[in-house]
Symmetry: C2
Subunit: 407 residues, 2 copies
């Protein structure tokens, strides 16, 4: 049994053209008119497949296939998201949802009689482009965030989420969690370079990194770049460089899948001949192991303390986000691995470095993910690309995995 | 013989209120209406002192005292500038010009009969706030830059320098260099913390740092902060931190008065969860010794080369400015030092880290500078401050030094 690869590819392409802006950029930002267009097309396709389409209070769309053969009470859920960032590629999220729908179609067309319902879900606002937090739809669905709070969120555009959801016609009546899945599997592009570099077609995701985001402000003393001897400086920029290299060295030495990134930086006054009086920078620390993550945070704090003990420095730290690592269900991971072997795919167990709806669903049911390679690891960019054969392989592996759970 | 300290202080204060903008910020930016107001007041005071006021083609104002006692052909020149940056303090430049005028008044009032003319000059556009290069008036005066080119300069405000100079009425007829001084002494606030930290009242400036300004662009590869292992990164930010610490360590170890500053930085895309693909930063290197400066530039280039050899990195370097160090006249420095001893001031020979008109005048005559302490080393800022006693000491030392040269 195989998915219809021509249909999947043509739908992915067609779907990638929905919601392009006047400059040709794909931008189906959650709860905008473009998002509505994407939702409408998905619902149309779900209905054409005979699925029972349900929308919940945070706007998650669920397409449920529950033919007469179903005897077990809890369905198997597949899913991901259909919202995008600004100037996005066409695979992130969409691939998982459209492949899920394709799996149901393939099962239907092969005359498969599931013992459980099979549902494909598109979770609202995974990207968090306008409304924080990201992964909102699955977070609310799994009980980690109240519907009321989510609907009251004010977006970067100044608009209230709940009103926008009403406006685009996707404020559903179902309570989050109204479908209690037996298991959840999410198929996604890797958004990283690991599979491509190892030339492997499939990643079986066994866990997801914990994330620690901090914003650090180092205040030093602005002085003339020419007249201030090196020994009399409190240079906020140099202190920042020391923190950057300390973190990089610590994390590299520690290994174990941990990564650290200083992605943003701002100097004040940012003038060529003035010693920086202030540096504001972000720290993004990730690890699949909570104790490693804590140790790295501690090491960073110690490094900052040492700097602050030097005359002229003052440091403040703001926590922006903190998620503990998520370990996916071992049985589910093994069953996907077996299905991969059955197809003759060499797979690699791996850690997801990005956040996904699966990490929220893991709160309420056994969950796992399937990754396919991303060209150059690029994502959130029009250059995001995954070869057709990889996309087809991933969808067929999802098909086999779901079939195995719904027999 | 002493200067009239009450008059000097009252004039400094009065002069500091000329050209404040609607927000109360002192901004006598060269060739603006505010600059004209400052020039007019200076000329008024020069004329009241019976000086022969001459303006040259680049707008430098020279007030020449040449009583009947003068028998030598070349006058002694004092000077500095009266233009300011935006939101300036009241001492930078103005102090040297007003103290110079005060020296002539004191000599006159004491009935001193100079054997040489004594001239106090205010050089145009030392700050270069709207029109590059800075130190323009003295650079043109000393033959380092053509009048024609200078007058054709387009300012940040889009206006042509020559037209603005005409408009404010200070386009003189004298050729630059029309007065050939026997010697030039510039009195200035230190604009650095050295004298204050050593609790010394006087700095005798024996040389001026060479300056090397470069803008460096490191291109790496943008990738997801969560999904890209540390070993697969080409992080332009981390590479920048390595360059920053390399330079700082090199310069600190080398000593010998060299300083380095990375004052500006910009990451792209500057997003918390994206590895920087690009970092653009400035390097400000200064040393009183040309070979040290060259060695440091070479060491920087080697450090950049090593980074560029790593996969994924691409580096470009743009030279923004390069001035060789200037050594002031040894005899003049010694004579100032002696005069300082004569007043009972403990002085320190020092290097100027900032650029001054004296470095340009050193091209055409023996030159030197006198520094007085700056509170916290702050300059180019309303908080710029020098204690009254220091200002008076500096002016009295200038008086004695000039007197000694004009006997």
């Amino acid at each position: 049994m195989n998915i219809n690869s021509a249909r999947l590819m043509s739908r992915l392409k067609e779907y990638g053209d929905i919601g392009r802006d006047s400059q040709g950029r794909l931008a189906r930002i959650a709860f905008t008119d473009a998002d509505k267009l994407g939702r409408d097309q998905l619902v149309t396709w779900m209905q054409a497949a005979g699925l029972n389409v349900e929308v919940d209070k945070i706007g998650n769309i669920h397409g449920l296939w529950e033919p007469e053969s179903v005897v077990e009470s809890r369905p198997i859920m597949m899913g991901s998201h259909i919202d995008t960032v600004l100037n996005a590629g066409i695979y992130d999220g969409n691939y998982g949802v459209l492949a899920g729908l394709e799996v149901i179609l393939a099962l239907q067309e092969a005359g498969f009689k599931p013992s459980r319902g099979i549902v494909v879900s598109a979770f609202s606002n995974e990207e968090g482009a306008h409304y924080a937090p990201d992964m909102m739809g699955s977070l609310v669905y799994s009980g980690g965030y109240s519907v009321k709070k989510a609907l009251a969120t004010i977006g970067l555009n100044g608009l209230v989420l709940g009103s926008e959801l009403q406006r685009i016609g996707y404020a559903g009546l179902n309570e989050p969690g109204f479908i209690q899945p037996k298991a959840y599997i999410e198929l996604h592009i890797e958004q990283g370079p690991v599979l491509e570099n190892l030339e492997l077609p499939i990643g079986v995701v066994e866990n997801l990194q914990g994330i620690s985001w901090q914003r650090i402000t180092i205040e030093g003393v602005a002085n003339h770049a020419g007249t201030t001897p090196m020994s009399m400086r409190a240079d906020a920029g140099i202190a920042t460089a020391q923190v950057m290299l300390h973190l990089k060295d610590y994390v590299t030495q520690k290994g174990n899948g941990m990564v650290s990134t200083i992605g943003t930086i701002l100097f004040e006054p940012n003038i060529i001949n003035v010693i920086p009086s202030k540096s504001v920078f972000s720290v993004d620390l990730r690890s699949p192991c909570e104790s490693d993550l804590k140790d790295a945070e501690l090491s960073l704090a110690q490094c900052l303390n040492e700097i602050e003990e030097i005359d002229g420095f003052n440091i403040s730290v703001e926590r922006l986000a903190r998620f503990e690592p998520v370990t996916f269900d071992r049985n589910l991971v093994e069953s996907i691995e077996k299905a991969s072997n059955g197809r003759g795919f060499i797979s690699k167990r791996m850690t997801s470095g990005a956040g996904h709806d699966a990490q929220m669903m893991a709160r309420i049911c056994p969950s796992a993910m399937i990754f396919v390679p991303s060209k150059d690891g690029i994502s959130h960019n029009p250059r995001e690309y995954t070869e057709e054969q990889h996309l087809i392989n991933g969808a067929n592996l999802l098909l086999d995995s779901i079939k195995g759970l719904a027999i």
